[in-house]
């Protein structure tokens, strides 16, 4: 039973990784940039949700939506200000800029409000224990999981059925050919940042409710792990990010269950090393031949 409970924890944690990993993978797919500031967008989303709940007295769903909208705008601003001028620069220049943006957001927030942590109130969501086949599962983790799954379904719908989603896929496959279709590549890239950042914002609120404590550097580790999840699933591939995130959460939970909880964080990076050695294209990646 202990094992099943750990698995439930793993899936909840994994769905948070998955939501963040989606932003990494979508942005990589379209501009071939690992946006290392993405974990900090997640952190900002968590704080927006916190203030929405405590100061503005909003309930869960409005706070979640407010955080998503704020992060979407924030993500677009980051892209327009920091990355767009580097569109034709080398990839390493953009990567270093991303790290710079990350540090700027973290320390900017510390400068504005201080480094002290905050605690999410614990009455945002009902805290019932559900007894399912002898396993006690908190209603919170079920709600969190449902919200994540709903968001991922909406994302799949947007990417596959809407015009902007088709434009995103076209630009990520061949941006020049996309231009010839009349697609505005800059707007499509902005939309990608907006959607990815909104998902990170949602993940931030969910994280806060689940783990209570938030602080300005909270985005670093989940951000890196979500990056691992994106690589595990195959960077640039949306279903890969979902599966990679869930899988990583489950792996971590299992490591804890086996009694090695101190190794939890290390395991994610061991997974990264093994993936890069044995399956660099990721679980869902195809070995694409380079055209000569």
């Amino acid at each position: 039973m202990e094992l099943i409970q750990q698995l439930v924890n793993g899936v909840s944690l994994g769905s948070i990784y998955a939501l963040i990993a989606l932003g990494y993978t979508m942005v990589y797919g379209i501009v071939k940039l690992i946006n290392f500031a993405h974990g900090d967008v997640f952190m900002v989303g968590s704080f927006v949700g916190f203030y929405a709940i405590t100061v503005m007295d909003l309930s869960f769903i409005p706070a979640l939506l407010l955080s998503m909208v704020t992060c979407a705008i924030f993500g677009v601003l980051i892209e327009r200000i920091a990355y767009k001028p580097l569109r034709n620069a080398t990839r390493i220049a953009a990567l270093i800029t991303a790290i710079g943006v990350s540090l700027l957001i973290e320390n900017g927030l510390i400068y504005v409000r201080g480094a002290q942590p905050e605690a999410y109130p614990n009455n945002v969501l009902p805290m019932d224990k559900l007894d399912i086949f002898g396993v006690s599962i908190s209603s919170q983790s079920i709600l969190i999981l449902s919200v994540s799954i709903i968001l991922m379904i909406i994302l799949q719908f947007v990417v596959h059925k809407t015009k902007i989603g088709k434009a995103m896929r076209a630009v990520s496959f061949d941006s020049e050919a996309a231009k010839l279709m009349g697609i505005n590549v800059n707007n499509t890239i902005s939309a990608t940042f907006a959607i990815g950042s909104a998902l990170a914002g949602a993940a931030g609120v969910i994280f806060g409710i689940y783990y209570i404590k938030i602080e300005p550097l909270m985005g670093v580790l989940p951000g890196l792990k979500a990056f691992v999840a994106a690589v595990l699933g195959g960077i640039g591939i949306i279903p890969g990010a979902m599966v990679g995130g869930l899988l990583l959460g489950i792996i971590e939970a299992l490591v804890s269950a086996a009694g090695y909880s101190l190794w939890r964080d290390g395991v994610a990076f061991i997974v990264l090393i093994f993936i890069l050695i044995f399956l660099p294209q990721g679980l869902f990646g195809k070995n694409r031949r380079e055209k000569v």
Partner: protein, 235 residues
């Protein structure tokens, strides 16, 4: 319809087009012939807005388009079928065609035009749900052309439609190009197979190292000794 005056186009410091001047009249098929690297594709890319001319004027129906964003040029009625087809391999045939109509809002018109494309290329209808990457080279060429037609262009730019295709397929593609032309679309065709290009074109320009070195009616050029020697494999 299209008027290009003395344009210079650069890739970085390398000048790819040197003072090119040409024009295309409504309803014509005009072809650009010339060797690899002569600047034919560069010229098409400049017309469709992928490249910006450093100097010179590009006029489409009297309006300057040189340096405009590609999407506004598509909107004005110029579609470009790029070299190598560049279909969206990760999407289905139907999705590729929908993307061709990206800027259009008339749902019924789009539906009708998709039907027309399938009429023109029945092979695509058979493959409607297939990923474009799984199509053969000829089918991809058809898809790329169908996709471009979905934007309802008045001027269609075709870059090497015969590249890598079997002779029978090439013939088929060229018949369709003539059909498109007969329906009133003006065509600018870049082709390495000069014989074939001259056989369907009204006029031709010969491009060499970024310059137009010769131009005239197709029959005249076909008859010219110089052209025979250089481009038609004549003896």
């Amino acid at each position: 319809m299209l008027k290009i005056e003395d344009i210079n186009v650069y890739y970085g410091n390398i000048q790819a087009l040197k003072g090119v001047t040409m024009d295309i009249n409504e309803g014509e098929i005009v072809t650009l012939i010339g060797a690899n690297g002569a600047g034919k594709s560069t010229l098409l890319k400049t017309i469709s807005g992928l490249l910006k001319p450093k100097q010179g004027i590009v006029l489409f129906e009297g309006e300057p388009i040189g340096g405009k964003a590609a999407q506004s040029i598509v909107k004005m009625g110029i579609s470009h079928v790029p070299e190598g087809r560049r279909v969206f391999a990760n999407m289905t045939v139907a999705e590729n065609l929908e993307l061709g109509a990206y800027l259009r809002k008339d749902k019924n018109g789009i539906k009708k035009d998709i039907g027309k494309v399938y009429e023109l290329f029945p092979r695509l209808l058979e493959r409607i749900k297939q990923q474009a990457g799984t199509l053969s080279g000829g089918e991809q060429q058809m898809l790329a052309m169908g996709r471009a037609l979905m934007a309802k262009p008045r001027l269609l730019l075709l870059d090497e439609p015969s590249m890598g295709l079997a002779p029978l397929l090439v013939k088929q593609i060229f018949n369709i190009i003539e059909e498109i032309s007969e329906e009133g679309t003006t065509i600018l065709l870049v082709e390495q197979n000069a014989n074939l290009a001259l056989s369907i074109a009204d006029r031709a320009y010969v491009v060499e190292t970024g310059r137009i070195v010769l131009s005239g009616k197709s029959e005249e050029l076909t008859a010219s000794e110089e052209i025979k020697q250089a481009y038609l494999g004549g003896h």
